[in-house]
Assembly symmetry: C2
Homo-oligomer: 227 residues x 2
DNA sequence: GAAATGATGTGAAACAATTCACAAAATACA
DNA sequence: TGTATTTTGTGAATTGTTTCACATCATTTC
């Protein structure tokens, strides 16, 4: 039986990020028209792949005319809901948390860290433009700013307990920097960013003496390689 | 014709990281014997997948007896060359660079940041245990410590030029935090870590109202999901 | 305005990854 | 000792993804 659900594939979504990065650059350079093979060359995928990905997201181009850079970028912004403002909170204002709170790109991309939280009263003194609160104010802020996504930069040991509280208060997505596999209900999305693992991946591939077959971006090397 | 090359698949490598995280925890809890379905439950994959992944990396268990936690962990450490010391350098001691340089887990995992570099003489004053050098000393340090892997935390605008220099001096793998697609020779591995993208992925999936089908870890949601 | 060209878009084919199904082996237990 | 049970390990089947091949159409050229 034919299903009525449609599937969006993670890999294609990942590639959309690549295309967008490439398009942003081309736009800055004043390029108005872009072809599938341009994006393909720049990102290390094939041009068929680019077009298949586009078709997956319903993106149409002009026969012989390629794609309009601005339109394409706009479609991609919409895919990632960048037309809307997103209120984010950040838990844990330690080394990493402070760096993240100062990262200007989040704001440029409509992702506003509306507040940060730390258990340590000392850290709660303002150390950046963004206020640092005690965890007791979590509910208030989440409700007020309708926050759905949180960044978690607390020590491994506290990560699960903080997560439980966030989920209880209605958070639906977490970018987690602590090296633990968090347990959450089915409807909550966890994106683990483990910087040690990222480094170890590179070490792994460097050791395997990868002669990458076309692309050199690790995120695209999912197909496998000789060793 | 049968090929003599063997392929290691990126997805399975990614899952090995998950299994390892899980095993570390089980080890701390004093668990000596682990079954494929234990790891499967904990990580959200199927037990067949666990065994297939293991067979890919040549890991053998005991029929009915499962796997020995310690042995399994050891094999995984070897996969990631954690028995060897790895000398790493870090370029760009701004907000992110400082946070990374203070991250203790790198050392715990045999990845030593032997030196950091910054173009700004002010930043070159010691701000952590690790020395901060001018870029003029790159060659000396890379040669002395036989550095093959670098962490790049410089602004977008300088990322490519610094990369060119690193590659020229023999660096073979880069973890890149700048939101640009770096151009490097075929034999150099780039692992782009784009924290904005990681956040946007979460926003994307939260918006799609994902009811994740088994696993809630974004890195495993490559298979696709209903919306 | 007809022919050549150059790009998209997409079924079909090829390839890759996962799941299924079950044999084989180790252990437990009667 | 033999039978039941449990878990691994892996071919086969299925499912998913990428590449191929080419029809199609817009544009340029003659
Ligand atoms: N520093 C890095 O570059 C880096 C890199 C990769 C991963 N990480 C991970 O990110 C996390 C944070 O790292 P860090 O270096 O910033 O550590 P850190 O110790 O400097 O900061 C942790 C902060 O969390 C706060 N905190 C502790 N328990 C809390 C709780 N229950 N609720 C709210 N806040 C709490 C602490 O007061 C502290 O300010 C860790 O899990 C670490 O493993 C850090
Ligand atoms: N801060 C974050 O949390 C964060 C998050 C995601 C991505 N990033 C990315 O990481 C990079 C660094 O971010 P940041 O916030 O630390 O920026 P930053 O401006 O605080 O730090 C950049 C550092 O690089 C140094 N630098 C500049 N040009 C250099 C060169 N040619 N050689 C060596 N050093 C040079 C500067 O002196 C500065 O110390 C940026 O590309 C940023 O987009 C940062």
């Amino acid at each position: 039986m034919k299903q009525f659900t449609k599937y969006i594939i993670k890999n294609s979504l990942k590639r959309i990020f690549l295309y967008r990065a490439c398009l942003s650059r081309l736009k800055l350079m004043g390029v108005e028209k872009v072809f599938s093979y341009t994006l393909a060359n720049e990102t290390g995928v094939t041009s068929e792949q680019v077009r298949k990905d586009f078709s997956e997201f319903g993106i149409k181009g002009n026969k012989k005319g390629g794609y309009n850079t601005n339109e394409l970028l706009e479609v991609m912004e919409n895919i990632f809901h960048r037309n809307k403002e997103h209120n984010i909170i950040l838990i844990g204002m330690g080394n990493l948390g402070i760096a993240l709170s100062k990262h200007s790109q989040f704001i440029q991309r409509n992702m506003n860290i509306v507040a940060t939280f730390d258990i340590d009263p000392f850290k709660q003194k303002v150390r950046s433009d963004i206020p640092v609160y005690s965890l007791s104010r979590l509910k208030e802020i989440i409700d007020r700013f309708k926050v759905k996504v949180a960044i978690l930069a607390v020590p491994e040991i506290s990560a699960q307990e903080v997560t439980d509280e966030l989920v209880r208060l209605g958070i639906k997505g977490i970018v987690n920097f602590a090296p633990v596999l968090l347990k959450v209900p089915q409807d909550v999305i966890i994106n683990n960013v483990n910087l040690c693992n990222e480094l170890e991946s590179v070490i792994y591939y460097v050791h395997q003496q990868i002669k990458a077959d076309g692309s050199k971006n690790l995120e695209l090397l999912y197909k496998g390689m000789k060793y």
